[in-house]
Every structure is written in structure tokens, then in C-alpha cells.
Symmetry: C2
Subunit: 340 residues, 2 copies
């Protein structure tokens, strides 16, 4: 028996719109309409074309479509690193929101290096992405200008303030730092310390933390700044160092919950009671904060909401709406649990 050719569609990369048109006995334009605006095609034609598409295994070339329509349906996002829960949850929500709106996400990682961010922006502009999501608000002026001239919707996330390039969704890291200090001081602590990262937003929080502390007469707040990426296993040694140099410290504000968990473990290692000997305040309200023992007090940031709102703002603009808010403050909330 002669083996028959399997009834499989031709390789997708070789079937073009015109092939479908011929097979369905319509013009190419009609096929385009079936794909993009099916409601404007007569049901009979629609059915015929769709069956041809099916039969041939046609996959529209979105690249060609983008070139012709000047809309790529791609949005790019740049984060310092994706392997930080803090950003990955934002990106997850953003990806989901965009996907629901028919957009895909091109991902870029700056690795906390400004030069890389600029280079990525160039590539993305070259790809004619329809929108851009950035992390932070500290882009160099040249970059800001370039983006404004490019005229595409841009959302800056995770920090408010500065002069927005276009739109912003985030919160005040400075205020969050203030709130952290006030929480610890309200609990009676006067000797505070800070563990964070050598990175803009963390340093904003430190500034706020110190400012609020100073207002209560606590003027000397030691800080340990870890060079990114700040991993959980950096936290323990840093705490040990703080305690060695400043044994009077009774409360530490950690710039994310993972670091705080590291501090919790370190305390356990030394047998220091938390919060008796050392109060620990985290940042972010990651799942680990709720699971830790003792339960971790923390500054809650609704990370997914940042991604969602950023996606919605972008989608709104891309669909022609122009009156939406340009700045969204999603705020933060100090959650008191057992560790402070």
C-alpha cells in the first residue's frame, strides 16, 4: 500500500492570504476582513472563508499586518530584573491584562543599568511597539525627551513623582518609608536600622524612613545597602553586622519581605526573640509575610494592581481614549502582624 500524504495543512509559513482568497473564491481583501472585522462580512462568505482558512492551516502574518497598519499590537516593558517577585507579579498582571486586550508583551531587563535601559528603548522603538512600560521615574533627560518625541504611550511604574514622561502608576516610596518609621516609633522603638538595596526606590524609602525618624528625634539610623540583586541570603549577615556595631538597635526595616524573612531566620539562629529583642518590618506583603513565623508586619504594595492599571491605561490610550487619568496613586498600607 502506498502511504498517503497525511491530511495535514501545509506548513503555515507558506500559506498566504491570497491562497486563502483563491481557495474561498473571494478577494484578498475579504479574507483580511474576515480576520479583522468579521462583523462586516456576510455570514455565507464568512463561513466559506473560515473553512478555507481552516483547511489550509492559514496563520496570518501579523508582521506584515503591522507594517501595513502601523500598529504592532505589541507593548514592551522594561524591569530591572524579572527574578524579583516584586516585579514579576506586576509583569504577570500586565501580561494578562494586555493579552486580554489583544496585545503581547516584549520583555526587557535593564539589570539596574541605565545604559541598558536606553539601549532597550531604542530596540523597542525600532520594533514600533505601540506602548511602553518602564520601572521607576529616574530616566535620564535624553531618554525622556526621546520618548516624548516618539509620541507613544508610556507608563512609568513603581514610583510617583518627578515629571512624568506621559503616565504614571505607583506610589510614593518616600512616604512608604515615612510610614514604616512611624509604625516602628509608635511601637516604642527608638533605635532603628534599615536594610535595603543600592537602588533608587529603596533609597527613596530610606530617605523617607530617616526623615520621619528625625522628626521624632531619632536622628541616627544606620543603613545597610545591598548591591542588587538583593537576595534573601544577604539579609542575615547584614543584620549580624548591624547588631555587632549597634547593639542598641531594636527594630529593623527591610526593604522587601524576602530580606525580612532572611532576618527572621537569622534571629532564630541567634535565639533573638522577635519582636522582643528585634522587631522586623518588611516591605511588599509577599505571600511569605503571611506564612512567616512570627507573621511578618509589612508595608503592603498591591503589585498586581500596578501591572493591571498600567495595562488598562495603555489599552485605553491605544483604543483612542484620551481623557483617562495620567497618574494613578495606588498607595500602600502598613500591615501590623506579629513581628513588630
Amino acid at each position: 500500500m502506498i502511504p498517503r500524504v497525511p491530511p495535514s495543512p501545509i506548513s503555515s509559513s507558506s500559506v498566504r492570504m491570497s491562497d486563502v482568497a483563491r481557495a474561498a473564491g473571494v478577494s484578498l481583501v475579504t479574507v483580511s476582513r474576515v480576520v479583522n472585522e468579521p462583523e462586516r462580512v456576510k455570514p455565507d462568505t464568512l463561513r466559506a472563508v473560515r473553512s478555507a482558512i481552516e483547511q489550509l492551516g492559514y496563520v496570518p502574518n501579523l508582521m506584515a499586518g503591522s507594517l501595513a497598519s502601523k500598529r504592532s499590537r505589541i507593548v514592551a516593558a522594561i524591569v530591572p530584573t524579572i527574578s524579583n517577585l516584586v516585579f514579576s507579579e506586576t509583569i504577570e498582571a500586565l501580561t494578562r491584562t494586555l493579552a486580554d486586550g489583544g496585545y503581547q508583551l516584549l520583555l526587557g531587563q535593564s539589570g539596574y543599568r541605565a545604559g541598558d535601559e536606553a539601549a532597550l528603548v531604542d530596540t523597542f522603538l525600532g520594533r514600533r511597539v505601540d506602548g511602553l512600560v518602564l520601572t521607576g521615574e529616574g530616566q535620564p533627560p535624553a531618554l525622556r525627551d526621546k520618548l516624548r518625541r516618539a509620541g507613544l504611550p508610556v507608563v512609568q511604574t513603581w514610583e510617583l513623582g518627578g515629571e512624568a514622561i506621559d503616565m504614571q502608576v505607583g506610589f510614593s516610596n518616600h512616604d512608604a518609608g515615612r510610614a514604616a518609621a512611624e509604625h516602628l516609633i509608635a511601637r516604642g522603638h527608638r533605635a532603628l536600622a534599615f536594610i535595603g538595596a543600592q537602588e533608587a526606590r529603596s533609597q527613596q524609602r530610606l530617605a523617607g524612613f530617616r526623615a520621619a525618624a528625625a522628626e521624632h528625634g531619632v536622628s541616627d539610623v544606620p543603613a545597610e545597602l545591598i548591591r542588587p540583586p538583593a537576595l534573601i541570603d544577604d539579609a542575615g549577615p547584614r543584620l549580624a553586622q548591624i547588631v555587632a556595631q549597634r547593639p542598641e538597635v531594636t527594630a529593623v526595616f527591610c526593604n522587601n519581605d524576602l530580606l525580612a524573612a532572611g532576618v527572621l531566620f537569622e534571629c532564630r539562629q541567634h535565639g533573638w526573640d522577635v519582636p522582643g529583642r528585634m522587631a522586623v518590618l518588611g516591605f511588599g506583603d509577599l505571600a511569605i509575610a503571611r506564612a512567616a513565623s512570627p507573621r511578618l508586619s509589612t508595608v503592603q504594595i498591591r503589585r498586581a494592581e500596578i501591572g493591571e492599571r498600567a495595562g488598562q491605561m495603555l489599552l485605553a490610550r491605544l483604543s483612542g481614549e484620551n481623557q483617562g487619568a495620567r497618574t494613578v496613586d495606588i498607595g500602600f498600607e502598613v500591615i501590623a502582624r506579629a513581628s513588630t
Copy 2:
């Protein structure tokens, strides 16, 4: 004084290659060469064209380039979710490796739903991505066929076995599960339990775990399977449940280190000594394993290496090399620390 027009480049989206050509007094093709193969252009011309590019603020339209050259320089990756450290570190390494090779990463999240994965693949094929990275090896036959017909390089990650679509880089989850059981049994444990996720790879590990246990006469291994996403705060309650129903259990294998950390915290809550009352074995060797107290024994997976190797395999293929390995086993290693 009449305010002069600022010396800023025209909006990037309006300058075309032909504009640069005119400004530099060369043909359009020469500009294209300056952009893509500068070594084939005479230094003088090069300089002239580059200065014109600079002056006009020209940003090449990669979309048009892709259409003409049939290479998008985009690779797509699909993971269940990016907000799981286990995948995000792989994606981070992949993104970096690809970026160094001049490729960008389009990100898709399947949310552990097979249907979403298939839909994403369609979109990505439509965008004519040059390569594809998938998680796992359990794609439905229709999808596998479609991908093979599409003829683009595909790397499946995080699991070995099955019939590869094209290339694979990962390890045997079944064997990793076996190794976990053997480690615990070697430490004298006979009443084992498992906490994992309702998800293919986790279940492979469970199967291996149970198989090895059975070989040592341990035939009844209770398992708690969490519906994804399995967060750290699910772990404690599950452990509590296991202990309530099976107080004889003395060792638990958690399917990632975050869950294991949750279990550690839960033990602390109850005052159960680890590993005295309960031995805890993690999976992944995330940073938290090294920071935990007690230090967490775990099955180490080199997650970044998966992303790196996947990227390299793709880049090699995209640059025409065809003899590289199609399957890379990156293995795993049981790391004994203090928790077992």
C-alpha cells in the same frame, strides 16, 4: 527675538531610510548596509551616513526589516507563570542570553492551562517568531505536530523525556523525586509525605518519590497537591493536615523551597524541632534555602542554566549551526544541609 526651533531630531516614527539616504547623498541600500553590515561599507561613506542617522534621529523600522528578511529576531517563551521564582530565573537567563545574541523575548503565560498555551503558540507563529521556548513536554499532539510543521526551532524546558518536538533542556523530574526519597530514607526516615502542586512536573516527582520509597518497603506516602499557583502560605496548613491525619510522618518532601520555608515556619509555630520531629526537604535550591534556619536541605536545580542553554541552542540554530545537541540533561543534585 524669534524663538528658534529646538535642534531636536524629528519624531523617530517619521524618518525613513530614504530620508537618511537623501541627507547623506547615498542610496537607500547603502543606509541599510550601514545599519546591518557596516563592515562592507567604505569608512567615509559610513561616517557620512552615520552622521545623517544621528542628525535626523533615525530609528530603523525593524518590523519592515523583518517582513523583508523573513527573520523577526524575536523568540517567544511560554511559561505557566512568571511570578514563580523557579521560572522567572530561567526566563531572566534566557532573556539575557538572547539579548546578547541580538534577539528579543516575547513572553507568554499559560497559567497552567493547555488551551491558553495553544492559543499563545498561534499568536506567536503569526508574529513569525524565529524560535520558541516551551515549559514542559506535555503538549497535546496537535500542537506538537503544528510546531513541527512550522519548522521553527523549539526548545522544551524543565523536563526531559517524551518525544521531543525539536530540542530539550532539563532533567528528569521522576529521577529527582526518586533521589529525594532515597535521601530521606538514607537518613532513617520511613514515614514520608509529599507536598506539591497539581501540575505535571510536580506529579512526576511524586511518582518518582513514591517509586523509590516503595522499593525500600515504604509503600504508603500521603501527598498534598496544591492547585497552582502554589504559594508559600499554602504550605503550613497542608503540613498541619498531614500531621493531623498521619502523626507518624517524620519527613516531608516539598516541591519547592518556598513551600519548604512555609513548612519550616509552621514547624516553628508548633514548636516541632526540625529535623528532630520533622525533616524537611526542599526543591530548587532558591536563595531562601541557604538563608533558612535551619538551613534547608534541597534538590538543587540550576534554573539559570536551563535558560542559558535554551538560549544558546536557539541562537546556534538560528545562526545556521545544525549539529548541536538536541537534548541537554542539566541534572540535579541533592544538597544535604541541616533540615534533614
